[in-house]
């Protein structure tokens, strides 16, 4: 197999008000189906070790977990090298059930925005209320960042992890870099 690399080869920007890093290859599996059904719950539990999350939330620890994407779609996160195995296992569990499991790892790029001003950087780009009372770790939001679709959650109180399409990785990185450039803080959440 060829040597898989991330879209921007681990690009970083550390001199702004928040650090922007491209996250290493992350296994991502799209699961579509009836989220209330038992086989789907079983497949999710076996693949990620957690229950099907409630709307608008994500249960992510490290590089594995489950994110709620839409009323009939979940995003399963797992280590990159176990994707094929996990997909096969989920397909087995879901045999005969009206559901779809697809490996989308190489179709996506992930970024991490970290630092005390991370909220501010994100709030400049997404039309989302990012006040600490309105968006906190455990929540998950699909939205628009400038002109591209994206989804994000907070691994901890000072950082965001963003998932976007791989073809838009450079755009997203440049966007985050500009939003985080030195001296651009306005302390709106402090």
């Amino acid at each position: 197999m060829s040597n898989a690399v991330t879209a921007l080869n681990g690009a970083e920007a550390r001199d702004g008000i928040a650090t922007i890093t491209e996250v290493a290859l992350q296994g991502m599996i799209t699961l579509r189906g009836d989220l209330a059904s038992k086989p789907v719950a079983k497949a999710v539990k076996a693949a990620a070790g957690v229950a099907v999350p409630k709307p608008g939330t994500a249960a992510v620890v490290g590089d594995s977990g489950v994110c709620w994407m839409s009323p009939d779609e979940l995003l399963i996160l797992c280590p990159y090298d176990t994707v094929a195995e996990t997909v096969a296992q989920m397909n087995d569990t879901l045999a005969g059930v009206h559901a779809l499991v697809a490996d989308v790892s190489d179709a996506r790029a992930s970024f991490r925005v970290a630092g005390p001003a991370a909220r501010e950087v994100m709030a400049k780009l997404a039309p989302v209320d990012l006040h600490p009372d309105a968006f906190a770790p455990g929540m998950f939001r699909r939205t628009r960042m400038a002109q591209v679709p994206a989804a994000f959650w907070m691994p901890d109180t000072d950082s965001f992890q963003i998932v976007c399409f791989r073809s838009q990785a450079q755009y997203m990185f440049d966007l985050l870099k500009v939003a985080a450039q030195k001296g651009s803080g306005v302390s709106v959440f402090q």
């Binding site: 709307p55 608008g56 839409s70 009323p71 779609e73 039309p127 939001r141 699909r142 939205t143 628009r144």
Partner: protein, 109 residues
Amino acid sequence: MLILTCPCCGVTGEETEFHAGGEAHLKRFGPGSTDDDFESYLFMRENPKGVHFERWRHVYGCGKWFHAARCTMTLEVFGTYPAQTLAPPQELCDAISAKRPGWSWRAFS
């Protein structure tokens, strides 16, 4: 700017996260229908000043279609409701009546 709440995922967002999908509750007339029906299905649209019903899609979010009732004059959104229906829910019509007494839109009032 419109602030819409998607009834499918519960997210409240501003209109750039959504995409307008034209007038709501159109009945399709296809091949075999009369010319008048076909013409009205294709071209005849409401253009009200006031209460209006539209289809919207949560394009940057859950991707689902839904219906929205809003005022074209004040941009007030009266409410949103699922796409799988032929008429707005009665509670929503009542809520609109409380704010815009005497409103009517196509067959609804």
